[in-house]
Structures are given as C-alpha cells and as structure tokens.
Amino acid sequence: MKKILNQRETIITDMLKGFVKAEKDHIAVSKENDRVLYRKEKQEGKVGIVIGGGSGHEPLFFGLLGKNLADAVAVGNVFAAPTPQTVLAAIHEANQGEGVICLFGNYAGDVLNFDLAKEMADTEGIAVVNLAVSDDIASAPKEYQVDRRGIAGDLFVIKEVAAAAAKGYSLERCQRIAQECNQRTYSIGVGIKSGTNPLNGKPSFILNDDEIEYGLGIHGEPGIEKMPIVSAKDLIKKMYLALDQEIKAYVEKEVIVCVNGLGSTTLMELYIITNELIDLLENKGFLVMDTVVGNFCTTQEMAGFSLTVQILTEELKELYQMEATSPHYFHKEGY
C-alpha cells in the first residue's frame, strides 16, 4: 500500500484534525467525544441533523457539515459504523430541543449502533428519529426496498432532509420527508478496481484486467456479478435499464441525478458517463432538473462509480433548490 500517512492507529484522528484546521471558522470537535464534529453556527429552534457512518468514504460524511446541511457528524473507524457513544454525542451537539434526525447508510452495523444511541437519547428525553438510506437497487429487489444498502443516494437524502429542518419543519414532517425522499432515490454502482483499506493495506477484491464488478457496495462488498468491461455506452445502458425498472412507474417525470465517483475514476470518465445517462433519461421522457458529478461517496481510491436518480415531488424539488453550503458540496441556483 502506498498511502501518505503517519501511523495507521492515528489516521482517523489525524484526518479529523486536518479537516477542523482547514475549516476552523466553521467546524469544531465535540468536547464530549473526539469522533464528533459539529457546525459552529447554530440555527435556533430547528430539528438537528446528525449524519454518520464508517470512515473511508470521504467526503461523506463530515464534508456535508454546513449551512442548510448537517449539524453534527458521528465518525466511525474505517468502514465501521460509529459506536453508540459517538452517535449519542453527535445527537447532543445537534439537539436544540426540537428533536434530532439521524441519517446514515443502511448497514447492519450502522442500524445497530444508531438504534442503541437512539435508545440512550430516549432515556435522556431527546426525541430521535433514525433513517437508514437504502438506495442501492443492486442489493435487494424492489419488494425489499428498505433492506437495500445505502450508497451515494445519501447525498440527496441529506440535502433535502436538512433543507426541511432548515425551513423549520417539525420532526414528524422531517421524518415523513426523509422516508419519501429515501423511497424515491435509486442508485446502482460498478467497481472497476479495488481501493485499499488503509488499516491493513489490502485490496477489498481482485478483478481481472478485463473484468468489472457490477452492483458492488461502497465497502468493496462483492456485487451482483463480475462481467467483462464494456464501452461506456453499453455499460450505462445496462445500468439505466436496471434503474428504469424502478422509476418507470412514477407519474412524476422530473428527476435529479448524481454521477458519483468511487475514488480514482477520473472526472473525464464521469462526464462521459453523464453524457450517456442523461441521453437515456431524456429519451424515456424524464426531465433532468439538476445533475451533480463528482466524488461524494468514495471507497478509498477505488475505481468505479454509481448512478443515482431521484424522482422529485414538488415538495422535494423545493427542498433540493434551497441554497446549501458545506466544504465538499454546495447547491446554488443560478451562477
């Protein structure tokens, strides 16, 4: 493994220190738990937004702390959900008396730890709602949508639920929006070359030079199948067809799209992919309201990418269009 770091024992701490130094005016470390960062500026009387998960997916999650975005983040070890104590501390930092909503990817570890934290917060009288994002259509069939794992769809769910909180909506309304927004978000990914886990220096999987992993997870978990590498056109068509099964039944036709790089896939490739995807969506009668392209949810330096499509409602559209600013994601209408 060739990575620039000090000892492997301190990678998370060193990374968080660097981040807080870079963002010193805006972001601070929780006094209760050094795996928790929070946004310094508080907006009074709103539902708190906690996000979190394992490390190794940067800029998710801490890169989304910001205005009209997340209030606090619970940071786990590499690819491991944060502990209940860490999540609880994040809840404390985000809580302003209106309740807290926690958003995380749907993985056994995250569900277990966030659920425990919620139980602990309950005993303190803090109302907490947990929502596990489950956008990865490759991981379970439609009938088991809530069992799917969470991948880059996190971005849209966090964006919109945080906007709802920033608008002053109640915890109940935020929860309803979170569910709806998660339900309307569909992603699929492929792996092209494994990244390496910085703790053990090992690749997550091995592929032949002409092979890709179709439908893989963002921790390098194997996907649906290994398949030969094909052209961007053919690959995106295959992926789009899988997405189309999920979205074709909607009467609403306005969508937002995210083409997410997993680490080392170049922006050049991501835009070549974008070109194919938008054509396919438009040919099927969808109206692409906005497209974001970049590395939001990574797996270390894995080569690969995911496509995310969210079917908008009027409400979600309004939330999506709200201005938002954070170190690694921003949204601004008209520039």
């Binding site: 490759a138 053990n200 090992k202 978990e221």
Partner: protein, 213 residues
C-alpha cells in the same frame, strides 16, 4: 478439583483471548474480505486492545465487572456490527446475578444463553442466517447440556459445537450483515463473526485446560 473461575482468572482469560484476536487480525480480515468489507479482523483487534487497556488499568471487584468492563470497552471502541454484537456477549455475562468474585459453569452457561437472546433481539437474525449466532447458539446449547460438568468438559463441548457451527455457515446464504446482499454468492464461505466466536470459545477452552490441568 476446583471448578470456578476467579476474578483474576477471568481477567487472564480475557487478556489471553485479546492476545489471540490481535494475532488473528489478518486471518479474520481475509475471511471478511470474501463476503464482507474486510474489516472484521481490524474491528476485533481494536476491541481486543481496548479490553487489554481497560483490564490492565482498572480494578475489578467482581467477575461480572470484568465482563462488563470488557463489553463496554468493545462497544466504545469498535463500532460496526460486531462492536454492538460482540459486546453483547460480554455484557450479558456481566449481568449474571448476583455479582460475585467467581463464576461457575452453570452461571457462565446461563450468561451465554442470555447473550444469544440479546444478540437475537438486537440483530434480528436467527440460526442459519450465516452470522455469529450460528457458532454462538450451538456453543450455548452445549454449555447448558454440560452445566454440571467441569469448565474443561463444558468448554470442550462448546468449542466443538462452535467449530461445527462455523463449518455449517459455509452452506448458508447470508441474510444479515453485509453478506446478505450477496445472495447465493455467499455460499461456500464461512461467516467471519462466527469464526471469531469459535476462536474466542476455543481460547477459553485452551485457557481453562491449562488452568485446571
């Protein structure tokens, strides 16, 4: 022949288990890489180091406390699925009534049964779902069957049951944890969490065999 474990013995046993888990980091990681995200070894090693730190730095006034300290150390350091679930094992052993300066086979077996229940409630998995339960539940059954035997006999039976459980996981399709998304592709691989459980129980057995020989 004495058939109870004292505070010091339980401490030594847990420290020994921790040593072994740290040594096995790569092996466990490798197993997780096939059907999971490859971090199970690192997770267990992190928990093991936390146990060592805690037990070396803190006094313990009961066997229960040793287990509780270990469980909390795991829960606060590991994260992930195994952070919650493996700490449940030790936390259940810490809950045995009454608080005592030693533990016998019967209490130990009850504690493990309680752990199986807790883990099932938390994780919603059952036997055959290709999780740590596939090793822990048969081990627990073997312990209860040997409630009135010696620690050496009971743990020998538990160890074999757990190992058989690990073997069995190879034939299961995962329904919980990261491997659940794999479907049939998880067939043929053993479950990492079950492997850790079998390791832990095996090391308990090795420890008592030495201790009571």
């Amino acid at each position: 022949m004495c058939n109870q474990l004292t505070i010091q013995q339980v401490k030594d046993m847990l420290l020994h288990i921790a040593d072994v888990l740290i040594q096995k980091e790569d092996e466990l990681g490798e197993i997780d890489r096939h059907i999971g995200d490859g971090d199970h070894g690192t997770g267990m090693a992190t928990g093991a180091r936390a146990i060592q730190k805690e037990l070396k730095e803190q006094e313990s006034t009961s066997v229960n406390q040793v287990f509780r300290q270990s469980g909390i150390a795991m829960m606060e350091s590991m994260g992930g699925a195994s952070g919650v679930l493996f700490s449940s094992l030790f936390l259940a052993l810490g809950k045995i009534e009454p608080e005592a300066p030693e533990i016998d086979v019967a209490s130990f077996s009850d504690g493990v049964s309680q752990a199986v229940k807790d883990i099932k409630i938390r994780g919603r998995a059952g036997l055959g779902d290709k999780t740590m339960l596939d090793a822990l539940e048969p081990a627990s059954v073997a312990l209860i069957e040997n409630k009135n035997s010696t620690f050496v006999e009971a743990l020998a039976a538990a160890k074999s049951a757990a190992q058989q459980g690990v073997e069995n996981t190879k034939g299961y399709v995962a329904k919980f944890g990261r491997a659940k998304f794999l479907g049939e592709r998880s067939l043929g691989y053993q479950d990492p969490g079950a492997t850790s459980i079998a390791m832990i129980i095996n090391e308990m057995y090795q420890f008592v065999k030495e201790e009571f020989k």
